[in-house]
Each structure stands twice: as structure tokens, then as C-alpha cells.
């Protein structure tokens, strides 16, 4: 789209866009370039300039079973949290969209968790699911030692999946509901005339019509689980026990800032960057073009 009426003072145009450009250059492009530079060089132990080592840092990363562990944890986490929160959100949105009396209440309340910071969610869930105090500890009273996220890796992993899903349900719900409400009522009514029940209409009419939103949300949820989950993990489990909840972001953070190994952290950053870029591409290329039912 082009504007017919434009202004011609190009100095002004440059001045208007300059602040944004300066910021993204200093804080986005330069650091990204530097990550790339660090990923292919090594800093000598006694100072001096960085030495070119090619792909050696990547080799070191890829040969490390701990790294593959973090990849596995991240992918499982992304998959579980995305499926869980999308399924619940879709179900809720479908039912709220039936517009029974009182449905307005849900619209205003379901997305509240999304307003919370990830570490706040983490802290709340850490207490609620704490093994010896809090809400869930009752389980341990009945079956001692059944639930302990501080010792059991599976429990800890479940905990962060629940926290992440809880945070994202409301967000997904808003998008699903907006998509459902943009479907013309006449289509559902035509289905009803043909004798399709409410559930049949949900499954065969409404769900297929909101697939574009579904795909969009899948990408957003996966990206968020790669990126924003840092706060949850940092507060609830710190990556433990025994690296069971060490997500890729968390490993980059610990390697870079606690291990002070910039080169290894940079190599891992590059891998994560490629993943996020790929996801964004899928979102804009594949999803936007292929999934069009309307």
C-alpha cells in the first residue's frame, strides 16, 4: 500500500526514523553480530584479541550431552505447555462463545493470569506446589513422598509446564474468542438448520474456521515458551533437580553469566536465534498463506 499524498522533506524523514534505527542498531544488530563473532572465536586465557576457531565452539556445544539435555527439555516443555494451554483455551472459548447467560464474566477474568510477570507466576506456583506447605502438600500427607519437585525431575518439569500453561491460557483464550466472534453467525445457524448439534457444529464448523488463529497461536506459544519461561524456571527450580528443567535460555544464562564462557553461550544463542527465526518465518510464510478457509 502506498500513500498518494506524501511529504518531500527527506531530512525530516531521516530525523523521524533515526531514533528507532539508532536503538535497533546498538541493542539488536550489534549484539547479534557480536554473538556471531563470539560464536566463531575464542578469547585467549591471557588476554589479547579473539582467535578465529571456526565451528569449534559449535562442536563443543553439540558434543555436550548437557546441551542436548537442555534441547530435549526445551522442546518437551514447549510441546507440553503449548498443547495443554491451547486445548484448554480453545475449549473455554468455544463454550464462552455459546453466549449463555453470564458469559461476559468469563471474558473479563480468564486472561488475568497473563498480566502477571513470569517470576510472579513462578513464585506463586512454587508455593502452591511446594511439597511440605501450601495447597498441594495434602497429597504428601496422604501418600508420603509422592510429590516433590525439589527432588523429582518429573515433578519439577510438571510444575513449570503447569505454570507456563496457566499464564498462557488467558492469552490464547482472548485470541480464540476474537476469532470465534468473527465467524458469521449465519454459518452456525445454517448448520443448526441442517440438524447439526451444538458439539457437531463446534467440531465441524467453528474449529476449522479458527485454524489460522490456532496456527498463529502455536507459533507464539512455542516462542514464548523458549523465551519468556526464564522467569518461571529461575524462581521455581533454577534448572534443577539434576538439570531436569534446564531450558535452553536458562543454560545460556548460566553458561554466560555464571560460567563466564561467552563463546559457548554465544554459540548456543546462535542456535536459539536460528530456531526463533525459523519459527517466525513459519508464522509469516507458511501459516499466513496456506491456512485460509475464508
Amino acid at each position: 500500500m502506498e500513500k498518494r499524498a506524501t511529504f518531500s522533506n527527506l531530512w525530516l524523514a531521516a530525523a523521524f526514523i533515526a531514533p528507532q534505527m539508532l536503538l535497533i542498531f546498538v541493542f539488536f544488530y550489534w549484539p547479534s553480530g557480536e554473538a556471531l563473532y563470539w560464536a566463531v572465536t575464542l578469547e585467549p586465557p591471557f588476554g589479547g584479541g579473539n582467535q578465529w576457531v571456526g565451528l569449534q565452539n559449535f562442536m563443543t556445544v553439540f558434543e555436550d550431552p548437557k546441551y542436548w539435555n537442555s534441547v530435549r527439555v526445551s522442546l518437551t516443555f514447549a510441546f507440553s505447555a503449548t498443547v495443554l494451554s491451547l486445548a484448554i483455551a480453545a475449549l473455554l472459548a468455544l463454550f464462552v462463545d455459546r453466549r449463555l447467560p453470564g458469559h461476559q464474566v468469563y471474558k473479563f477474568t480468564f486472561f488475568l493470569p497473563y498480566a502477571l510477570a513470569a517470576p510472579a507466576v513462578g513464585l506463586a506456583f512454587r508455593f502452591i506446589f511446594s511439597p511440605d506447605a501450601g495447597f498441594v502438600s495434602v497429597i504428601n500427607q496422604a501418600f508420603p513422598g509422592l510429590w516433590n519437585p525439589a527432588l523429582n525431575g518429573y515433578d519439577a518439569f510438571t510444575l513449570i509446564v503447569l505454570a507456563q500453561s496457566w499464564k498462557m491460557v488467558g492469552y490464547n483464550f482472548i485470541f480464540f474468542l476474537a476469532a470465534l466472534q468473527s465467524i458469521p453467525r449465519t454459518i452456525s445457524e445454517a448448520g443448526a438448520m441442517d440438524g447439526a448439534s451444538v458439539l457437531r457444529r463446534m467440531w465441524d464448523i467453528q474449529l476449522p474456521l479458527i485454524t489460522p488463529t490456532l496456527f498463529f497461536l502455536i507459533v507464539i506459544n512455542i516462542t514464548d515458551s523458549f523465551v519468556d519461561s526464564f522467569g518461571i524456571v529461575d524462581i521455581t527450580t533454577s534448572g534443577g533437580p539434576a538439570r531436569a528443567t534446564e531450558l535452553m535460555v536458562y543454560k545460556i544464562y548460566t553458561d554466560g553469566f555464571q560460567g563466564k564462557d561467552y563463546s559457548l553461550a554465544a554459540a548456543q544463542s546462535i542456535v536459539l536465534m536460528v530456531l526463533v527465526i525459523a519459527l517466525t518465518f513459519i508464522q509469516f510464510r507458511f501459516v499466513e498463506r496456506r491456512v485460509h478457509y475464508r
Partner: protein, 298 residues
């Protein structure tokens, strides 16, 4: 609505109510835990009804988390980021939409690509840049053999360090671009005919028209920047003066000190303090919040 389905209606109501309770119960538990004394909160099963120590715990948490200072910091940072984002997004969208120059699309793509580089994936080098924000320019000048005596600009432990790296915004720019594209050309032509230059047109025609956009963007960006955690954690080492509210959660998190039971009541009170502002914003400005969410992400 179209037909009578009493059973399904009942199921729908039941499911929605159960979900509502399940989604809101964490808030209730935070509140209840924040209102009991140390002994009661560690009981199993925990009480599900608020106790009488709420204000006492809040006072303790407020003091322990240094919230006097920290809340002020968070408001400055979240406010700064929000205003910065709106101004910068509006300016750059205006430049991209209302001027015709060759690099226009390049600029647009440069902004677009930043979507794919979230802070978390470039965290280590961004931190290094923050130690001296002018270093990129020094190194570029150095590359051409020019030595310019640029000063060192350390962003660590400063408001600018907390604010500037978070201001650049692709989504905000898109939102404004999208909106500017819907503004009729006739309006621009009329303004030009009346002798208005670009600055005047921007300030007196476009800005008042985009109030809705601004409100939507402001609510969502305020919540977003209030909730920032990783970046403040890195930039701020001077906890006394520059810590933000969200950061304090890590400090207040109960440490496993030699079998000592964690001080949950105070931790939950602190959590309540930290989560209240964004929750209030979303409740009271939720129309804008929802609109901002849907229009920035799509």
C-alpha cells in the same frame, strides 16, 4: 440460542465455573498465604480462609523488599519504556508511511527483523554493549582507522540502561503503520493545501486521530515492561538504588537454609505487591489491553 439444549447448557456452565475457579485459585492462595502468620501458613493442609496478619505481612514484605524505592524505580522504568515506545513507534511509522525515499523498505525490514531477535537470545552481547553503549560506534570508526575521542557511556546501574534497550519496538511500529495506512489521503491533501508541513500534520492531525492506538499500546506496553525480569536482573548490580519490583521476587524467594522452613507468608505478600499494578491495569483498562494485544500481534 438457536435450540434448546438443557443438558449441554448445564455442562457448559459447570465447565466454565470450574475453569474460572481453577484459573483464579492461585490468586486466592497468594492472598490467603499472605494473610497468615509464619506458623499457620506452613500447616498441612494450608488454611483456605484469610487470617488476620495480612497488613503485618505486607508491611514486613514492603520493608524487606525495599519497596519504597523499588516501586518508584519500576514506575519510572515502566513509564519510561511505555512513553519511549509510543513516541518512537509513531515517529518511525510516520517516516515510513508519509515519506517516499529509497531506503524506506530497507528500514521497514530492519525494524521487522528485530521481531526475531528477542532479548533472551542475544542476552550476553547486549549486556556487553550496555557496559558501554558507544562501543559499537568506536569499533566502527576504528575499522576505518579514524580515532574519535568518544566518551564511555556505561548503562549498567542507570535508568537509561533499564529503559533504552527495551524501547525499540517492531510491533508498535506496525500498529502505527497499519493505522496510518487507513488514514484517508484526502486528509493529508487538505492539510497540505492549508499550508501544513509534515511536523504540524503529524502533531495536529495524526496524533489526535491515533489516541485509541496510543491507549491500547500504552496499556499493553506498561504491563510488558513492568514484568521485565531478565534484563533488570543483569543491568542492575546496585540493588539498593536501581532494583525493580519484579527483580525483588528473586531476593525474597525462600532459600532452603539448612532445613529451615521458607517464610512463605512474607514471600506471598511481596508477590502480591509486585503483581498488583499490572493486574489493576489490565482490569481497569482491559478494553484497551485486549485491543492492544490483538492488534499488535496480528
Amino acid at each position: 440460542m438457536i435450540e434448546r439444549t438443557p443438558v449441554l447448557d448445564f455442562v457448559t456452565h459447570a465447565l466454565l465455573i470450574v475453569s474460572l475457579v481453577a484459573l483464579l485459585i492461585p490468586f486466592w492462595i497468594i492472598f490467603v498465604a499472605a494473610s497468615h502468620d509464619f506458623h499457620t501458613v506452613n500447616q498441612v493442609p494450608m488454611p483456605l480462609w484469610p487470617g488476620s496478619h495480612f497488613f503485618e505481612n505486607m508491611a514486613t514484605a514492603w520493608e524487606r523488599g525495599n519497596f519504597d524505592r523499588v516501586m518508584l524505580n519500576s514506575i519510572i522504568v515502566a513509564g519510561g519504556v511505555t512513553i519511549g515506545k509510543i513516541v518512537i513507534a509513531a515517529l518511525s511509522a510516520f517516516s515510513i508511511v508519509y515519506f517516499r525515499y529509497k531506503l524506506r523498505m530497507v528500514m521497514f525490514w530492519l525494524i521487522f527483523i528485530t521481531l526475531m531477535l528477542p532479548l533472551e537470545v542475544r542476552i550476553v552481547p547486549t549486556y556487553a554493549v550496555a557496559a558501554d553503549a558507544l562501543r559499537p560506534f568506536k569499533e566502527i570508526f576504528g575499522l576505518f582507522g579514524i580515532s574519535v575521542g568518544l566518551p564511555e557511556w556505561n548503562l549498567l546501574n542507570s535508568y537509561s540502561g533499564l529503559i533504552l534497550p527495551l524501547i525499540a519496538t517492531a510491533t508498535g511500529t506496525f500498529l502505527y503503520r497499519q493505522f496510518f495506512l487507513t488514514v484517508p489521503d484526502e486528509l493529508t491533501e487538505a492539510a497540505k493545501m492549508d499550508g501544513s508541513g509534515p511536523v504540524r500534520f503529524f502533531l495536529e492531525v495524526l496524533m489526535p486521530l491515533s489516541k485509541t492506538n496510543m491507549a491500547a499500546l500504552a496499556t499493553i506496553m506498561f504491563v510488558w515492561s513492568w514484568n521485565q525480569y531478565l534484563w533488570p536482573l543483569l543491568v542492575v548490580t546496585d540493588q539498593q538504588n536501581f532494583a525493580t519490583a519484579t527483580m525483588q521476587l528473586q531476593k525474597i524467594v525462600p532459600g532452603p537454609v539448612f532445613g529451615e522452613p521458607p517464610i512463605w507468608n512474607v514471600a506471598m505478600a511481596a508477590n502480591l505487591i509486585v503483581l498488583t499494578p499490572p493486574v489493576l491495569v489490565t482490569i481497569f483498562l482491559q478494553r484497551w489491553f485486549v485491543r492492544g494485544l490483538i492488534s499488535t500481534e496480528k
